[in-house]
């Protein structure tokens, strides 16, 4: 099964880090990706720029509405994601528990959902 591990933490914890701590955390994350790749669990994943760089887009009645900031205020902010291949939830949870920011914030693990097959005829647009 494929699982997405969404990495959340309070950005102010990161802001409070020294250069050295921030460097070490990034190195640790690189090591984690390397390990997951070697084991065949890592499909893809990226770290994200801080929340202040987020932009939200909505379309209502054909009109595109753009606003600054995230869609919802949360206690912890989305900081990155992994797409993982795991046998089942137990394995996914074990892998997610090894993602370094797990000790700073929360890793939300969600199975991916396959979209249904495309209709044979008819184009929705």
């Amino acid at each position: 099964m494929q699982y997405v591990a969404l990495v959340y933490y309070q950005e102010r914890l990161i802001e409070a880090m020294s250069e050295r701590e921030w460097h070490d955390l990034n190195q640790e994350c690189l090591g984690c990706v390397e390990r997951l790749t070697e084991q065949g669990h890592f499909i893809t994943g990226r770290a994200l720029q801080p929340m202040e760089s987020a932009t939200s887009v909505r379309r209502r009645d054909g009109e595109v509405l753009v606003s600054d900031g995230p869609f919802a205020e949360t206690k912890e902010q989305l900081a990155g994601f992994y797409l993982l291949e795991a046998r089942d939830l137990n394995e996914a949870l074990r892998l997610a528990g090894g993602i370094p920011p797990a000790r700073l914030g929360t890793i939300e693990v969600r199975p991916v959902r396959d979209l249904p097959p495309k209709d044979e005829t008819g184009d929705p647009s």
Partner: protein, 427 residues
């Protein structure tokens, strides 16, 4: 008629075990449940004529598996892919798997990815084969809410990819408390089954004990021993919990000669092992309380001070209004009914207790002992309106009637009046 009764009791006794194996073999809770019902339907039609087979569980697994595969094959013809579901293990492996299946089911239903309330609901429903009403009562929830919860929990098991397995050694400790909580609830359900005529449903309590002991083999930890001690010590009282007419007898009025000495010995032995490893574990503390009762010659001669202390420690480990309720009752026994009532009144608005019949029964009892007849009547009526189980209802009705028969309340009985004659606070 004989065979009919025997199929019902076999269902209650064996359905979870058959289901546990069918889930593994068919790879789905829903397919397994359907196959289970098919298997029992076939049993209902065949056994009255052919007789009950020598190994009914194996028969039910065989039939259920066959029917389940037929069902899946029928559905899969419409799909592109088909999985082969016939186990290709050796007979010895399969026998070991079948023996492990109830634990597999238990750990799956108790998976931490499920909310605790879902784990309890799902396990009681799937693992113990209880009705939704019984599960709802055991969990102090409404039946409709509980039914939805079970559907959601099963969907979540499937969608999240929760595996059907016993966790490995590294994972076991974290997974244990949820499982113990569930086993204890199964045990309690066996003790006071809702809605029914019976006070005691021994097979269910036995099932909980069996699960607990299997778990103790798998994972010899203090928490498991503590739970087993608690269950054995409660189990020891089961014969004394009802009189010859099947009426409920409260702990303090039980004929202690009817307590099962063998169960008490077994309970104390488990407790000793638990105390050596996890003395402050909630189950160990509760077992310690049960052990005080088990070793006291009478309610009066019980070390209530120690029980109050143990409930206090328990409240610290696992704060709960029900534990505070029990502590209040112990305080009433040790100190005075008024002291207990003061603690109970502070709990009266708690949402978990507002509709909990035992809370109102306890209040009624303390008011009765304190001589507050009107308040006692009020609380008994409230408890009676909430109690589901017939013996409990009859017990409450008797107490209510006795209250009326007692004649007018003497003007002398006030807050300073002594506890009810014949018992109450020990010297």
């Amino acid at each position: 008629m004989q065979v009919q009764v025997s199929i019902e009791s076999l269902y209650r006794q064996h359905a979870p075990r058959v289901l546990a194996t069918l889930i593994r073999r068919l790879g789905s809770f829903d397919a397994a449940e359907e196959a289970l019902h098919d298997a029992f339907a076939e049993a209902v039609s065949r056994w009255p004529g052919e007789g009950v087979p020598d190994a009914p569980v194996a028969w039910l697994i065989r039939v259920g598996h066959r029917r389940g595969i037929d069902q899946i094959r029928r559905r899969q013809t419409a799909r592109q892919h088909a999985h082969l579901l016939v186990p290709d293990e050796s007979e010895a492996d399969e026998a070991r798997d079948i023996a492990d299946d109830p634990l597999r089911l238990l750990f799956t239903c108790c998976h931490p990815a499920l909310p605790m309330s879902d784990r309890l609901a799902l396990t009681l429903r799937e693992m113990a084969g209880l009705t939704t009403e019984q599960v709802a009562s055991a969990l102090l929830q409404r039946p409709t809410a509980l039914a939805q919860r079970i559907v959601r929990a099963k969907r979540r098991l499937r969608a999240a990819g929760i595996p059907y397995e016993v966790p490995d050694a590294a994972e076991l400790p974290a997974r244990l408390p949820g499982v113990l909580g569930v086993i204890y609830l199964i045990f309690n359900e066996g003790y006071s089954c809702s809605d029914g005529e019976r006070v005691v449903d021994a097979p269910l309590a036995d099932e909980a004990l069996r699960l607990g002991e299997a778990l103790a083999d798998l994972l010899p930890r203090g928490e498991v021993f503590g739970l087993l001690a608690l269950m054995r010590l409660h189990h020891a009282r089961r014969e004394a919990r009802q009189d010859a007419r099947g009426e409920l007898v409260p702990l303090e009025e039980q004929d202690r000669r009817r307590w099962d000495a063998g169960q008490i010995r077994a309970g104390l032995a488990w407790l000793e092992r638990a105390l050596a490893l996890t003395p402050t574990d909630p189950y160990t503390l509760q077992a310690s309380i049960a052990a005080v009762h088990a070793q006291a010659p009478s309610a009066e001669a019980t070390d209530w001070r120690r029980i109050v202390r143990l409930y206090g420690a328990l409240q610290q480990q696992r704060p709960s209004p029900v534990i505070e309720l029990n502590r209040a009752v112990a305080v009433a026994m040790h100190d005075s009914p008024e002291a207990g009532l003061a603690l109970l009144e502070a709990l009266a608005d708690h949402h978990q207790l507002v509709d909990y019949h035992l809370f109102h029964a306890a209040r009624a009892d303390l008011h009765r002992r304190a001589g507050h007849r009107e308040a006692a009547r009020h609380a008994y009526e409230r408890a009676l309106a909430l109690a589901m189980q017939e013996p409990e209802r009859r017990f409450l009705a008797r107490r209510l009637a006795a209250l009326d028969a007692a004649g007018p309340v003497s003007a002398a009985s006030g807050p300073s009046g002594s506890a009810a004659p014949g018992r109450g606070s020990p010297a």
